[in-house]
Amino acid sequence: MQKYLRLYLITSLCLLSAAVLFGLVASWAFLYPETYNKFLPFYQLRPFHVSAALFWIISAATCGILHYKKEAFPETKSDNIFAQLFIYTWIGTIIAIFVCYGLKKFGGREYWEFPPVLGLPLLISWLLLMCAYFIPLLKTRGNKPIYVWMWTTGIFFFLITFIEQNLWLVPWFRQSYLRELTIQWKANGATVGAWNQMIYGTSLYLMVKISGDGKKAQGKTVFFFYLLGLTNLMFNWGHHIYNAPAASWIRDTSYIISMTEWVFLIRMIQGFRKTLEEGRKLKHLITYRFIIASEFWVFANLLLTLAMSVPAINRYTHGTHITVAHSMGATIGINTMILLASFSYILGIDQKSEQLRKTIRFNFWLCQFSLFIFWIALIAAGVIKGYRSVVLNMTSFQEIMLPVMPALKTFSVAGIGVVISLGIISVVYIIQAIRCKEA
């Protein structure tokens, strides 16, 4: 592995550690705002946490792709100048973003709360990444495996949605609140779709590699599911804004498209036996464990998402911690698990000492267990808030939140398990990355 990719991998893992630590402190600031407002207020901790989490995901996904592409498209020159330029500008901008948060300089929209000028270096670095990726891609001929389609789609759509994220800087888009809101959430929804394409592509790639079965990434069925995922990326974002009185065809389109996700659920149930058989053969591999954990979380989150995508149910869940359960359930349970599988594979964790693998296995289980409680507690918090505000029609915010707090305390305590387990895993992986200079 080249030096610059190693640096990138280590930076991504540092972002993961930062994300969990900031998340934990943010949960305390949520519970005791009076205290935290004096020195480290929630409005600073939330962007620290969410940006670290999102940059962990995007960085780790692109780090994997930059590493794997050398095998997928053999013609790349190994010392790719564009990749290096991308990595340095990208990391530099992330540091600048954190400095701004530290100085309480905000200005962006939700999840991208840094001053909007910093969008420019992010855009430039993404274009550099596209050069690094597309030049070798366009040079290789012949049919590509589906994971290459997915990586390509993810990288390309991230660019489109990133530009869309920033359209609000053009005054016309702010002439109407509903227009601005709609486009913001169209872009946010599709950005998540874009990184999911990169990450699910990586998961497919890893499965092909560890099972040695190239057919997994070929054929009509896999392509059909890829297209279904892409359709959802393009058209399902309206479920974020069901309750806003924007044009009704937006609601109709996203309701219909979101319901196609049942097909994913049915496919998972159908494939369950096969997954079990495969699991018996591969379960000793840590890489595989992380992938299987992600499948469990896909299943759990699909159930939740399908429910939330029905407007009549969304009416109760919207604006509650059920949304947070959905977003953290997916970003930790699905994305982070696949990305850790990817890093386990890159670092060759399965070939390391038994002692080291034991540590990882233990923390793997600690993470699953605490995440499950964490997730359920958030859902409980959301159900209580939804019940009190929508069913009981309470209007006083203080009164609504009173019984929600115990659920959020449970969430915060379970969060400690997530922090310890993901923290230890990232530290172990960072040490391995520093050691594996020659690999």
Partner: protein, 134 residues
Amino acid sequence: MFRLWLVLFVVFLVYSCFVYSNCDKSRLPVTSPDKSVVAGWNTWQQKNCQSCHQIYGLGGYLGPDLTNAASAPGKDDKYLKIFIQYGTGKMPNFQLSDSETNNLVAFLKWVDKSGKSRVPKESVTWTGNYNLDN
């Protein structure tokens, strides 16, 4: 395969343009924001009010949804101003100037006119969808 992809992509582009130009054409009239509203909107983002507050249910969850705070019974400009200018224990005091405070109130009042954040029970149809057009 690539052709199928291209078709989907073209549909996406057309749909996107259609969304940009028509997404807010529901029954409520759209009033353009004046200078004070735009300034308030920028302050809203620069002070990161969205990390604690939601508008249309979107944002952080430490504070209440403010979509319709401006028209809530018993809450007038003065009420909003006091909150914004002095904060509470849970909400920090941002040391905002009078003009920043007024702009924020103008922004919240403008948002309030764009619609209601809560969907009434009557708007849910048998398909599980909403009918918000009347």
